[in-house]
């Protein structure tokens, strides 16, 4: 399996008044056409890793890596024009909350058409047709009606499906999903996940699934990277999660209240300073 994405020694630094904050400190992994999960707590650098690959790191931050290549293109040295052409076309990203990440003053259909026409030379009517097909593919019952709605007129689950449609309409090879279901209700979460799962499998995309929920990630992905303080502390196949070795991974697994398990008090993470070394 040839690697779609190669990341070697990725670092993201934020200069601040009180010194440099290193959000990501030497992350390395390769990704083929598979589902990779990245798990960690807030501040572990999981989202910044995804953003650095996408090229969405704020301009005052510093991104370095020995290798950061996607399909043979070196992303570190690529000019902004090349990054723009990749973004949305070959690498796409689903963000956490559809309430904040969709354009509030543009109808859903127009936002999907915009993505398509930015990257492909298609006629207005063909773009509309493809956007409608895509809305149908994310199991929106009445695509023609939803096409003309504005983001505030749809529910969270519907908004997130519209975002998935928007991200997949140009047929990307790599999809980065940053907490795609954390803002949704438990009952809607499963629907959105199964739609995402089916589309990723059908189209043979690579997927990076970023989340704080270790159980969710392990049920969705083939392989999981566990991050702590900007570093990968453990890499594990999702099926072997029960035999995780690192105490941090075990702690994350154990601290969730589980229906039927009577554990009072809940085990808490005892963070060791040497984990962050």
């Amino acid at each position: 399996m040839s690697a779609l994405l190669t990341v070697e020694d990725l670092r993201v630094r934020f200069p601040t008044r009180t010194g440099v904050v290193e959000a990501v400190r030497g992350v390395s992994f390769t990704l083929g056409r598979e589902r990779l999960g990245i798990v960690g707590e807030s501040g572990s650098g999981k989202s910044q890793t995804g953003r650095a690959i996408m090229g969405l790191t704020p301009s005052h931050a510093e991104v370095t890596a020995k290798t950061l290549s996607f399909g043979g293109i070196d992303l570190i040295s690529a000019p902004p024009k090349v990054r723009r052409d990749l973004r949305g076309k070959r690498i796409a990203m689903i963000l956490q909350d559809p309430k904040y990440s969709l354009n509030p003053v543009m109808s859903i259909g127009r936002q999907i058409v915009e993505t398509l026409r930015r990257h492909e030379n298609v006629s207005r009517s063909e773009a509309r047709g493809r956007a409608l097909d895509m809305l149908a593919a994310v199991q929106i019952r009445d695509p023609a009606r939803v096409f003309d709605l504005y983001p505030h007129e749809v529910s969270g689950g519907m908004g997130q499906r519209a975002m998935i449609a928007m991200m997949l309409v140009a047929g990307p090879e790599l999809l980065i999903a940053d907490e795609p279901t954390s803002a949704l209700d438990v009952t809607v979460q499963l629907e959105v996940l199964s739609i995402l799962d089916k589309l990723v499998a059908d189209r043979g995309m690579g997927l990076i699934f970023v989340s704080h929920d270790l159980r969710l990630v392990s049920s969705f992905c083939d392989r999981v990277l566990v991050m702590y303080a900007g570093k990968i502390v453990e890499e594990i196949a999702a099926s072997d999660l029960a035999s995780a070795k690192h105490p941090y991974t075990q702690g994350l697994l154990n601290c969730m209240p589980v229906i039927g398990a009577d554990r009072h008090p809940l085990p808490v993470l005892d963070r060791k300073p040497e984990w962050a070394l």
Binding site: E41, S42, G156, D185, V186, T187, V188, Q189, L190, L193, S194, D197, H212, D213, L214, R215, L216, S219, F220, G251, L252, C255, M256, P257, V258, I259, G260, R263, H264, P265, L266, P267, V268, L269
Partner: protein, 249 residues
Amino acid sequence: MTTAVSVKNLTVSYDDFKALDDVGVDVTAGESFGLVGESGSGKSTLLRAVAGLAPVTEGTIRVENWQLRGARRDKAFYRSVQMVFQDPYGSLHPRQTVDRQLLEPLAIHGVGDGERRILKALDEVGLGSGFRFRYPHQLSGGQRQRIAIARALILEPSILLLDEPTSALDASVQAEVLNLLEQVRRDRKLTFIMVSHDLGVVTHMCDRLAVMQNGRVVERLSSADLVAGRIGEDYTRNLMVASKGFRRG
């Protein structure tokens, strides 16, 4: 067994929209009672109605010896009933130190001995006196939620209303806050009414729970029944399936 909170035929309307429709629950003193349901089911509205933060159009709420109508509450009510909100980033004043925020309820209720009470409250939620003069932006999410809990506890209430107290927190921090809440409930013999969308959290924390959908209570059951699968309603069963996580196929 005395009833701490008794809600009967409660209706809350926002114009034509009924957020709560003929809802009744009874919570025994010293009990931990859970409210679950998806967004828009009215679980938070019920909690806010008890606290006097929602427009009640019909029905009665009795809390201990108060027979409540509308949204008027006297001062003594808030010495017995306090609330902890979902978002610790939004519920603390960004420009006041922890000390000021903890002093506020004491000042409102004319309680003396502030110095000792503030130190005791901080100690109780597991934060040392070193946190006393910090601002909210100098604290993590979990520490902020501890401050919000300290602020609710400082008046020594008997009933605590908890509106998704851990859903904005990381799983590992959630465990710490849940343990803290259980600890203070045991120590002070508090009554909890806890809203959550997470069945795992509710069954862990509560003895009994009510499942809500579209502004109505669809089922009342004990946590033990839920765990054992003795469920009467399809909606509750769907919530149970959803909380088990993603399954392929």
